[in-house]
């Protein structure tokens, strides 16, 4: 009897498992197929264009060539754009991290009222269109005396010459910090909130001043949030279009704008596809690379403290 009950159970499990898999697939497949058909496949086709040849008439076909990549790497103009893109992304992530700490500290440790207000004010701009925010920065940084920055400098009495920030890479950096700040503050405040408060108290009781306790206890323990934030901000800045297009001018030309020019002005699809490939590689490298570095660092850290 026992064995028959077992057999029965097994048969039921088998019967149950198969429809379960079928139902699961039916619920999952629509989303999966949608993303594969409309994102993965088109992206692969686009990236594939980067090694094809475009004829005078605009037809894109074989033979295979690395010509577009060669131009991208060996032409001084294009190389400058690649380097500037990486520099703007790096500067933006560093400055964003710097600005994010105080806000994230208040969200994680501040009085409930301040914590809530800071959270709302930091996150709110995230749902304001990037076009609107960039327009705001155009008004802020305008090179004429009627820009907010120049008006303020004038009011402070720094002299009649307006500073020229708009249409340089710095305008892009400043506005990008503004656009991506919430995406740094959110993981950072979550990370800070998970730190055991008694660690910081212990450091203070043992005589460490507040800044030292921050540098030696809070900062290292918040690294996971920082790494997550830097990854997001770096890859989004490197892939951005609106901000450099509206604020960077020709001096702050970045890959996204160059890509758009290749399509709409030069009609050079293989070149645009090569730029797209470089942008995807940068985004992937940021997402995979930063995580890998952080893991290695954490591993080295554990081994070091283990050796002590």
């Amino acid at each position: 009897m026992t064995s028959s009950a077992l057999e029965q159970g097994e048969a039921m499990a088998k019967k149950g498992v198969l429809p379960r898999l079928a139902v699961g697939a039916a619920l999952l497949l629509p989303a999966l197929v949608f993303v594969i058909v409309f994102l993965v496949l088109p992206s692969l086709i686009l990236l594939g264009y980067s090694v094809l040849t475009q004829s005078q008439g605009g037809d894109i076909s074989l033979p295979l060539t690395l010509g577009s990549y060669e131009r991208l790497i060996f032409s001084a103009t294009y190389r400058r754009v690649v380097l500037l893109t990486l520099r703007v992304a790096l500067l933006t992530s560093l400055l964003t991290a710097l600005l994010a700490y105080p806000a994230a500290m208040v969200i994680a440790y501040g009085k409930p009222v301040f914590s809530r207000i800071t959270m709302i004010l930091v996150v709110a701009p995230l749902v304001v269109s990037v076009i609107v925010r960039t327009y705001g920065w155009q008004l802020m940084l305008s090179n004429s005396p009627t820009g907010v920055l120049n008006w303020m400098l004038h009011a402070l009495g720094t002299g009649p010459t307006p500073v020229r920030v708009l249409y340089t890479e710095w305008a892009t950096v400043i506005a990008s910090v503004h656009v991506f700040l919430p995406l740094m503050v959110l993981p950072l405040s979550a990370s800070l909130g998970r730190i055991n408060p008694s660690l910081n108290e212990a450091a203070r009781i043992l005589g460490a001043p507040a800044w030292r306790a921050f540098l030696r206890v809070t900062l290292p323990l918040s690294l996971p949030g920082l790494v997550a934030g830097v990854t997001i901000v770096f890859s989004l800045t490197a892939g951005s279009y609106v901000t450099p297009q509206m604020l960077g001018g020709t001096r702050g030309l970045m890959l996204g704008v160059l890509l758009e020019q290749q399509i709409n002005t030069s009609f050079d699809w293989p070149m645009a596809a090569a730029i797209a490939t470089v942008m995807v590689v940068i985004a992937l490298a940021a997402n995979v690379g930063v995580g890998w570095l952080a893991e290695r660092h954490a591993l080295a850290h554990t081994q070091r403290s283990g050796a002590r």
Partner: protein
């Protein structure tokens, strides 16, 4: 949790955070201020007070049609993301199917790929398929961009569901679908609602994808705004921008009321 910012260090932190908040709000405040200015050009400081820019914008046919396109697009993208995303997120998180991790990464991949490239790839794909319908392209593109937000919010909500309640219901003999509708769903409804609201805003604000896929007949609001910027330099641009800021403010209050911003942002 007791407040842990105290003493001189705490004061400095509050001060720095206040400075950061000023930096965050300044460009938005300037836009709203300029939108009421009587000057013929959008310049700072604003002069006088008028609502005529708003009256002009709201009466314009182009603005109205862009607004309708944006709302329709955002609503349909949200509904489609809901239909595709909720079952997928549920299966990925509750049923241990083989390859769940890889599939989840794939569903979230629009987060990693630059949106400018997602849009261009889709534009080219539509051309290859000989589809010339801008509205259809925009719809597909916006679903691609909003779907990962919904999957992520639903995942975060599912992780907060009390599993022992589900198990208790199962043990007491409830069939799985009943456990889902009577036990799981009531616990994740606020999270899903917040996810939908967020999807709506992401679509409503979206630029780099619509940039490729829209045309003169089907033009969402952010594209209309950017187009106007290259032709018009008076404060009506600031007025349109302020209306979009107002929409965002309403959405943020909605998110905060629904689940609290912290949870809506899945942290």
């Amino acid at each position: 949790m007791a407040a842990r910012l105290s003493g001189g260090g705490g004061f400095v932190t509050y001060l720095l955070a206040a400075a950061v908040l000023i930096f965050v709000l300044a460009p938005l405040v300037v836009v709203v201020a300029v939108s009421f200015s009587t000057t013929p050009l959008a310049t700072f400081p604003p002069v006088g007070f008028t609502t005529s820019w708003y009256e002009g914008v709201l009466a314009s046919d182009d603005f109205q049609s862009a607004f309708i396109v944006s709302v329709t697009l955002a609503l349909s993208a949200t509904v489609a993301s809901f239909v595709l995303g909720v079952p997928a997120a549920y299966v990925l998180n509750r049923w241990n199917l083989p390859g769940s991790r890889a599939i989840e990464t794939l569903l979230l991949s629009p987060f990693i790929l630059p949106i400018l490239i997602t849009g261009l790839a889709l534009l080219q794909f539509m051309a290859l398929m000989k589809v010339r319908d801008a509205a259809l392209g925009l719809f597909i593109g916006h679903v691609l961009v909003t779907l990962p937000y919904l999957v992520r919010t639903v995942t975060a909500s599912l992780k907060q569901v009390d599993r022992s309640l589900e198990e208790a219901a199962l043990t007491l003999g409830a069939p799985p679908w009943k456990v889902f509708t009577k036990v799981t769903v009531p616990q994740i409804v606020p999270g899903i609602a917040a996810g939908c609201l967020f999807c709506f805003m992401v679509s409503f604000d979206e630029f780099p994808l619509s940039f490729w896929l829209s045309n003169a007949e089907t033009m969402p609001l952010p594209i209309f705004l950017q187009n106007s910027m290259t032709k018009i330099f008076d404060p009506s641009i600031a007025a349109i921008s302020s209306l979009m800021i107002l929409t965002a403010a309403v959405a943020v209050i909605g998110l905060e009321k629904l689940v609290g911003l912290r949870r809506a942002m899945s942290v």
